[in-house]
Structure formats: structure tokens, C-alpha cells
């Protein structure tokens, strides 16, 4: 998988660029009406480009997909791509531009929480509709945003439960490592509450934060090793974001931390991130998501085939946020068909209750809290960079965006 040659990728990028132009040629005639505009708000430059460019391509793929099905309501779909350049205020500006200048009907975008927080007031003011495809810390519910990634209870808590189970190694000490921003902070706060409720005291929890793009992990990994050598089975829960993962895993491998001894479960590492790492020393470390590329089943086969055909590279990987876009986009299509309009005021209620057999192999449903019900999968990293499921929930789990493990949420009226 990591053998993609430079050439391939360039072609892929160009293909992505030309996608919206190429779409009409595949398509026969469309009915009357101006095209439906789909805003794409993902960073194509700057630090987040590494994660977000694939999402841009996924949205473009879905637009092409919708057009190949004859469009929506007889109208053609048209993507409007902008580059917010990993610059958070620019996200807000570009969101306003998409809504006011380009008058998009729906927007797919954002990866980091801060970018979502930056555009949220804009979408609320201008009554837009945003699909946010990444797992996040919860504690939010905007009428103008649909969250198609996981809430903490759909990822973090099941993962820790697994670590504490017999199969997961019966961890008694937990290291919480994260990048210093809201998602890890909140997730770890929730996890601490959860661990305390399971009888793991604060003396057995180590919590440490590093800046974005942290590259020198020697000291921290050495400290983890020492922490683990105090007589109890230890596991690492990593909310390390993006770029910092490669040096982190390299250090883990080089300092000889084996999954059998100190398993590390990550919430932000998917197939895309693993593409940049030699995974042989990491076999057995874990990732918790709601979708893996290796998930068996027809919906996933179709999704993978569609992606690899679109990007014209049979080796490109899929990952969880891409699946979240796919699911969100198709649910939006269903809702538009149901509402018979793209007007946000009509599509929003129509979205609630939409169901889709998602590539993760389960039927997901859009809940009234604008989040999805999703299965939780725990996977082990393989030598080829893929992730194999070793544990999964029996059915889908309903998203709890307001965590019961955050005391301030206690007085929030349960809906």
C-alpha cells in the first residue's frame, strides 16, 4: 500500500481538480433548474491539508456519484471548492463566501474542532447546512450542523472498556496522551470520569499533552515506559492528532514498546495516517473507529471500488471520516428527495430519522440530536498498514453528544 508513486498522486490531484468539469460528460440530460451547489470547505494547504485533501476528493466523488444517478430533483449538482488553508478565521470567511456569494445549498467541511467552532456562528446566522465528518469531543449541538463522525461514547469509552477486558489485556493503569486541544482534553476528561467510576484511581492515570506537530517523543515515551514498569498492566490511550503520530509511533517502535506489553489505542489514527509509517513494529497496537477499510460486506466493497475508481489509484485507502462523508452525503440526498427541495428549513427535519446501510456494515440512523447511531469497532494495526477488527459492538450505539461523565452536563435536561 505505501508504494504509491508520485506520479499516481499527481494524477489523482488533477483528477480531483477536473472532476466537476468531467461530471457533465458522463451524464445524460438533466431536467430544468439551476444546479444544486455543494460547498466543499476543506484545507488544501497548510498543516491540515494532509488529512483534509482526501475529504475534498471524497465530496467531489459523491457529487459525481449523485450526478451519475441523474442528480437530485432532476437538477445537476455542482461542487464549489474553496481553500481555507488551515487558517481558522479564514474558515469563517470562506463559509460566509460559500453561503452568501455562491449560495450553496449544503456544505461539507472542517476537520478540526476549532475550524468547526469558527464557522458555526456563520452557519447559524445565515441558516446554512454543514455536514461535519470527523469524530469529535461532543458538547455541542447546532441546529445547522449535522455531525456524522463519532461522539465520545461511540469511540473513546468502548475502546477503554476493551483495554480493560480480558481480550484487551486487562489494563489497570492508563496513560492518556494527547495533543493539547479541545478534543483530547474533553475526551480525556470524560475518560478520567469513566475510569474513576470503574475503580481506576488518579494515581494509575498519567495524562500528558503535547503541541501540534510535536516531533521529539523520546522523553515522553521513556516516561510512559517507566510508568508502565510499576507493576500493573498498562495501556496507552492516544488522542494524538495528525502529523505528530508518525514520530510518536516511530519512537514507540524504536523504544521497543510492544503491543503485547503496552497496547496503545488511538482515536485519530486511520488508514491514511498509517500510510506514512512502517507499521511492522506496530502490529497489535489498536485503533478505535466506526469504520475500517478492511470491514467486510457489500456496502464497503462498493464504497472502496467507487473511491479507487474515482481517484484512479487502486491502492488509495479509505478511512473513517471519508465513510462519514459518504454516509452523510447519501443521507442528505435521501432527505432532499423526501423534502422535494434543498431548502435548509425543509431538509433539516427530513434528515432526522434517515437510515442508510453504511459501509461500516451497519444500518446507521440520523438521530434528533443531529448525530448518527454508529457501531464501534476496535481494530489492530497490521503489517500492511490496514486495520483488522478484533472487537465490535453487537449493534449500533446512539451518540451522546452531552457526556454524562462531565458533571456540568448533569443538570442538562435529557431529551
Amino acid at each position: 500500500m505505501p508504494t504509491t508513486t508520485p506520479n499516481f498522486t499527481r494524477r489523482a490531484t488533477l483528477a480531483g481538480l477536473g472532476a466537476s468539469l468531467a461530471a457533465p460528460m458522463i451524464q445524460p440530460a438533466f431536467g430544468q433548474g439551476a444546479p444544486i451547489k455543494v460547498g466543499v470547505l476543506h484545507s488544501l494547504s497548510g498543516t491540515m491539508a494532509i488529512s483534509e485533501t482526501a475529504l475534498r476528493d471524497t465530496v467531489l466523488m459523491m457529487v459525481e456519484y449523485a450526478n451519475s444517478k441523474g442528480g437530485l430533483l432532476g437538477r445537476k449538482l455542482e461542487a464549489v471548492v474553496v481553500d481555507p488553508a488551515s487558517n481558522w478565521p479564514l474558515f469563517a470567511e470562506k463559509a460566509r463566501e460559500l453561503l452568501q456569494v455562491h449560495k450553496v445549498d449544503v456544505t461539507f467541511g472542517c476537520w478540526t474542532s476549532v475550524s468547526r467552532k469558527s464557522v458555526l456562528p456563520v452557519f447559524e446566522e445565515l441558516k446554512g447546512l454543514l455536514f461535519y465528518p470527523v469524530q469529535y469531543e461532543g458538547e455541542e449541538e447546532s441546529p445547522n450542523i449535522f455531525y456524522t463522525g463519532a461522539a465520545p461514547n461511540q469511540q473513546a469509552i468502548p475502546a477503554v472498556e476493551y483495554l480493560m477486558s480480558k481480550d484487551g489485556g486487562e489494563a489497570k493503569r492508563i496513560v492518556l496522551l494527547g495533543t493539547d486541544y479541545v478534543y483530547p482534553r474533553t475526551t480525556n476528561r470524560i475518560l478520567r470520569g469513566f475510569l474513576n467510576s470503574k475503580g481506576i484511581g488518579n494515581a494509575d492515570i498519567m495524562e500528558e499533552y503535547t503541541p501540534f506537530g510535536h516531533s521529539d517523543w523520546q522523553g515522553i515515551v521513556a516516561r510512559v515506559k517507566r510508568f508502565a514498569a510499576e507493576g500493573k498492566k498498562t495501556a496507552i490511550v492516544s488522542t494524538i492528532n495528525g502529523d505528530a503520530n508518525v514520530p510518536f509511533y516511530r519512537e514507540l517502535g524504536n523504544q521497543g514498546i510492544k503491543a503485547e506489553d503496552i497496547p496503545c489505542v488511538a482515536f485519530s489514527v486511520g488508514e491514511e495516517e498509517l500510510a506514512g509509517i512502517d507499521t511492522k513494529p506496530l502490529v497489535g497496537h489498536l485503533a478505535a473507529w466506526n469504520y475500517f477499510m478492511s470491514t467486510p460486506g457489500k456496502p464497503n466493497e462498493e464504497f472502496k471500488a467507487m473511491w479507487q475508481a474515482y481517484i484512479k489509484n487502486p491502492k488509495r485507502v479509505t478511512n473513517d471520516p471519508m465513510e462519514a462523508i459518504y454516509t452523510g452525503f447519501r443521507m442528505w440526498m435521501q432527505a432532499v428527495e423526501k423534502a422535494k427541495t434543498t431548502a435548509v428549513a425543509a431538509v433539516t427535519p427530513a434528515l432526522i430519522g434517515q437510515k442508510l446501510m453504511a459501509p461500516c456494515g451497519f444500518e446507521e440512523e440520523m438521530l434528533p440530536n443531529h448525530h448518527l447511531s454508529k457501531p464501534v469497532l476496535i481494530g489492530e494495526i497490521q503489517a500492511d498498514g490496514q486495520i483488522n477488527t478484533v472487537w465490535k459492538t453487537a449493534g449500533v450505539v446512539k451518540a451522546e453528544n452531552w457526556s454524562p461523565f462531565i458533571p456540568e452536563n448533569a443538570n442538562r435536561a435529557k431529551k
Binding site: 481558522w88 478565521p89 474542532s113 476549532v114 469558527s118 493539547d180 486541544y181 482534553r185 456540568e408
Partner: protein
């Protein structure tokens, strides 16, 4: 003479923009909300550019950390805006902002006290950048750190601030910074009214800043600064305390940058440590270079034109805009050492 007319015309256009915004959307003269909000943002950038030009173009102090002053001003007003959210936050806490609630703060840190008052916040938006400039400037100028060394030091300053503000433990909201502001001075943000008010406030500040900078530039102080820029040690032998003069202009420039930041934040609706990034400061310096340094007008022109170009390119060529922008920077430094203004005067003569 012509330049003055162009300037006046541009100012007039800017001044009527919010009024044109009220016209019906199908009117030919209608100005969209989007244009109002980005122009408002550009005006604050233009003030930042003025501040940089005063220090760089006149006194030869190339600070690559002016973004830090801008951002600190923004944080000061951001803290005020956060306090004003009150119980409308996610957790409905009367005094603590949301991020403090979920980080488990029990009470406001001492440095947050007083920010519920607008005059205090505005004062801090000037005082904090001013004080930082005073300390850093005093240490650097006293040791006669000049030229690229000063640039590197100021760059390290903004970098260190960025790293520090990224920490959630600092009590400034970490990476997310502050968002989801509700109101300012009793007016609800995210309304056309508030945007117009902020737009005019920025415009007034731009005009005031422009005249202030012109006043400095045309006074004997301005000539001392130019003298310092060209032959610093010779100025000393004439009996001028170079440290004092540089410090004066550096602090003035930092205060202006802070005020610009204070107006920027309510308009874009977010402030976070990313604004401290050294790249941002360098970019702001490049606006000045593109417009033409040491002319004040050039700084304003540069800020507007580069940002307009950027806004346009990030939409029409999302994959290629960095080539265009990078190419522009290279071309301007190579072929237009006097910037766009230089082009003007060349065409005239």
C-alpha cells in the same frame, strides 16, 4: 496630487459601502454582506500594515513579530467578548467561559478580572502590546540588535507566544481560542448593524492611524527615524538617543497593531493562537513590501491588494493559489523594490 485624489476616492467608496449594503439585493449597486465583512477585515489588516510600515519603512525596524501585537490586542477584546456571553454559553455558567467550565476551573483566573468592562479591555488591547513592545524593544535596542537579528528575535517572540497560547493550561482557551461571541457594546454581533458599526469603527481608526503616522513621518522625529534607518551610529554621534527614538516608534506601532487586532476579532468572530504564527507576521510585512515601504499609502494599498488577491485565488484556484502568491512575493522583491507605489510614480514620471 493625483494620489491624494485616488485616496480620497477610495475612502469615499469605503465610506458608502455599508450604506450600499442596505440596498435591495437585486440592485446594481448592492454590496453583499460578504464583501462588507471581508472589507472590514482588510481595513484592520491595513492598520496593521501601517503600523509595520511606520517601524520598518521609517525606522528600519523589521519586526517579524507584529502579528503578536495584533493578536494580543485581539485576545484582549476577545476576553471581553467571552465575558459578555454570560449565561448564553453551552454550560450556562454566569462568569466562566465554556472552555474553563470543562477544563474544571472553579473561578476566573486573576488576569481575567476586569475584562467585563469594555474600556478596560480596550485599554488592555493597547497596553499589553505596548508593554511587550517596550520590554522586548528596550532589551533589543539597548543591546543594539538591529537588522536581521532583530527580525529573528521578534520572530522567536511571536513563536514563543504561539506555543504558550496553544497550551490549554494558560487559561486562554488553547488551540480553539475564543469563538461564538454574542454581543459587543449592547449590539448583537452577526447582524448587519453590528457589521456596519465595526466597519466604520475600523475605517475611522484607519484614517486616524494614517494621519497619526503621517504626522510622525513628517515631523522632525520622522527624519530622525529615517536617519536611524540609514546610518544608526551616525545619529548617535549627533547626540540622539537612538534607543529612545526606536522604542517610541516601536511601541506606537505595537499599540496601533493591538488596536487593529481588537477591531479584527469581533469582525471575524474568532481569535486563536494560530494568529501568532510567524508566517502571519511575515505575510503582513510582505503586504507592506508589495505596496511600497516607507510611504504609508503603500502599506494600505498592499494590505488591500494582497488580501483581495488571496480571497479571490483561494476560491478560483484552491490548489494553485500558493504558487501565485509566492510568485508575487518573489517578483515584487526582485522587480519592484519600491512596491506598487513605485510603479505609480514611475508611470507618472
Amino acid at each position: 496630487m493625483t494620489l491624494r485624489f485616488v485616496l480620497l476616492g477610495a475612502l469615499l467608496v469605503l465610506a458608502v459601502m455599508p450604506a450600499l449594503n442596505r440596498l435591495p439585493a437585486d440592485s446594481a449597486l448592492h454590496v453583499s454582506d460578504f464583501l462588507i465583512s471581508i472589507t472590514g477585515k482588510w481595513i484592520t489588516y491595513a492598520i496593521l500594515a501601517l503600523a509595520i510600515d511606520l517601524a520598518w519603512g521609517y525606522a528600519g525596524i523589521l519586526s517579524l513579530g507584529h502579528g503578536a501585537f495584533f493578536t494580543l490586542g485581539g485576545y484582549a477584546i476577545g476576553m471581553h467578548l467571552m465575558r459578555l456571553i454570560g449565561t448564553r454559553g453551552v454550560y450556562g455558567h454566569p462568569t466562566l467561559p465554556d472552555f474553563m467550565v470543562f477544563l474544571g476551573y472553579k473561578e476566573l483566573p486573576w488576569y481575567w478580572l476586569g475584562f467585563d468592562s469594555f474600556p478596560y479591555a480596550l485599554f488592555m488591547a493597547m497596553a499589553v502590546p505596548g508593554l511587550l513592545a517596550l520590554v522586548v524593544g528596550y532589551l533589543a535596542f539597548r543591546s543594539r540588535i538591529t537588522g536581521v537579528y532583530l527580525s529573528i528575535i521578534t520572530q522567536a517572540m511571536t513563536y514563543a507566544l504561539m506555543l504558550a497560547f496553544f497550551r490549554n493550561d494558560m487559561g486562554f482557551g488553547g488551540n480553539n481560542g475564543f469563538t461564538d461571541f454574542k454581543e459587543l457594546l449592547g449590539m448583537s454581533l452577526n447582524t448587519a448593524n453590528a457589521r456596519a458599526v465595526l466597519f466604520y469603527a475600523s475605517l475611522v481608526l484607519l484614517v486616524v492611524a494614517f494621519f497619526l503616522c503621517t504626522r510622525v513621518a513628517q515631523s522632525k522625529l520622522g527624519r530622525v527615524l529615517v536617519a536611524i534607518r540609514d546610518a544608526e551610529s551616525r545619529v548617535r554621534f549627533l547626540g540622539y538617543d537612538v534607543t529612545q527614538h526606536k522604542l517610541f516608534v516601536f511601541v506606537l506601532s505595537a499599540v496601533l497593531a493591538g488596536l487593529a487586532g481588537a477591531l479584527y476579532v469581533p469582525q471575524v468572530g474568532i481569535i486563536n493562537p494560530g494568529e501568532f504564527s510567524p508566517g502571519n507576521s511575515i505575510e503582513a510585512v510582505i503586504w507592506v513590501a508589495v505596496g511600497g515601504r516607507g510611504t504609508l499609502v503603500g502599506a494600505v494599498l498592499g494590505a488591500f491588494s494582497v488580501n483581495a488577491l488571496k480571497t479571490w485565488l483561494t476560491t478560483v484556484a484552491p490548489d494553485l493559489w500558493l504558487f501565485a502568491l509566492g510568485g508575487l512575493f518573489v517578483a515584487v522583491t526582485l522587480f519592484l523594490p519600491r512596491g506598487l507605489i513605485g510603479l505609480f510614480s514611475k508611470a507618472k514620471s
